[in-house]
Amino acid sequence: MTFAVRAGLKKFNIEHNFEVKNIYEYYAKWIREGKLKPNSDWNKELGIKFTCQDPCQIVRKSYGDEIAKDFRYAIKAVVGEENFVDMSPNFSNNYCCGGGGGFLQSGFKEERLEYGRIKDRQIKETKADYVIAGCHNCHAQIHELSKHYEGNYPVIHFWTILALSLGVLGPNERTYLGDDLMEVNVFHPETAM
């Protein structure tokens, strides 16, 4: 996890001769450089709206607003600019979803869901159909909030929707997509398990 590596190298004075980066910066870079050519036409008619969770560990605690901008640049290239809706507040001022810091594993479930009430409300206020979560803890927590507070919005990883917009997302790589996207742009549908 980005913060654990960066903060750990610093805190423990671990000598190293490599850079520590996060992939959201590179998704944007590869799209800008034309190495990846996502196409958002699949969503022109559908008009499915997406919002995103800025992960605290990557944005506020590591690279700041710049990487949050990169994340949005990549998302908009994939779902269409008009189909992205931001939460408020966001970027470095975003609320933690409550999945981090070990909260998902610590056993205080009732308190964790109470903690997430703010996040659920923020998401519902965007009226977005989908949430793109930037990390696994966010994904698991927001997925649970979606069920618990009955918003029932699907929560997905960015790689899923990026691969869909590149036209290469197969039928078995759609675990977290909602019914509305199960049949969209399916790559090699005959391989469905």
């Binding site: 996060n22 810091g101 056993g107 109470e114 197969g170 790559f187």
Partner: protein, 243 residues
């Protein structure tokens, strides 16, 4: 508000407050609190078990170590740092919380976090789900082979493990190889299409680090050291986090 009145004692010289101040750069600014409450008003953990960040800081400043150490709230604060972001005095409450967590005897810390950290220490993979090198290599190769065959456009796609000289050392959350291996594939396809030169490490591939959340310095260091050693061994220029 707390249900019972808090009785103040004289703060001991060896109090948690002073210990933590010594550990943190600039003393974590712990002395600078204006009690304005911006931290608490913007904290989603405010109110859980009758606690909030300002109250916790005040209790520590007043030497109420026993009460603070008995509270489970430090395990409900996610150390998300929104309080520092809002604080006019940049007080490092999350680091204070980290050190309060570290004060609790290791075996009494929340079992889920403890178990995940201990699991990560079992193998050099650092996997919190206990996946060893052999199992990881098997899953990756098996899934890759299946997709290379079924989707001929990706017959040339690779998912290298321990490829020396690759530009990127990529980590992977254990959840995918262990519980939903097909979820690794979209990322591999993206990297393939972008022409990225990347590799996993048989050691240190797991992206998660629960030892940090457990506030176990030695274990946290061990995990980062393992990742560092493997990245050096493979001569990768960039350690690339997928989350």
């Amino acid at each position: 508000m707390s249900e019972t009145a808090i009785k103040l004692r004289k703060r001991e010289k060896t109090s948690l407050f002073d210990q933590v101040k010594e550990l943190l750069p600039d003393g974590g600014n712990l002395n600078l609190c204006l009690t304005c409450g911006l931290c608490s008003s913007g904290c989603p953990a405010t109110g859980l078990v009758s606690m909030d960040p300002r109250k916790m800081l005040r209790m520590i400043a007043l030497g109420l170590d026993e009460e603070v150490l008995a509270s489970d709230w430090p395990w409900m604060c996610t150390m998300c740092q929104r309080c520092i972001y809002a604080c006019p005095m940049k007080i490092d409450i999350p680091q204070l919380i980290y050190n309060i967590r570290a004060q609790r005897p290791r075996e009494e810390r929340p079992k889920g976090i403890l178990g995940s950290c201990d699991m990560a220490l079992k193998n050099d993979t650092n996997s919190a789900m206990g996946t060893n090198e052999e199992d990881f290599i098997f899953v990756v190769e098996d899934v890759l082979e299946q997709y290379q065959e079924e989707q001929p456009e990706f017959a040339e796609m690779q998912a290298p493990i321990d490829k020396e000289g690759a530009e990127f050392f990529l980590n992977q959350n254990s959840r995918e190889p262990v519980t939903e291996p097909d979820e690794m594939v979209p990322l591999w396809k993206i990297l393939h299409l972008a022409g990225v030169d990347w590799t996993y490490g048989s050691k240190g591939w797991a992206g998660e680090n629960y030892c940090m959340f457990l506030a176990d310095d030695d274990a946290w260091k061990h995990v980062v050291q393992t990742q560092t050693d493997q990245t050096h061994k493979l001569k990768c220029k960039t350690y690339l986090n997928t989350e």
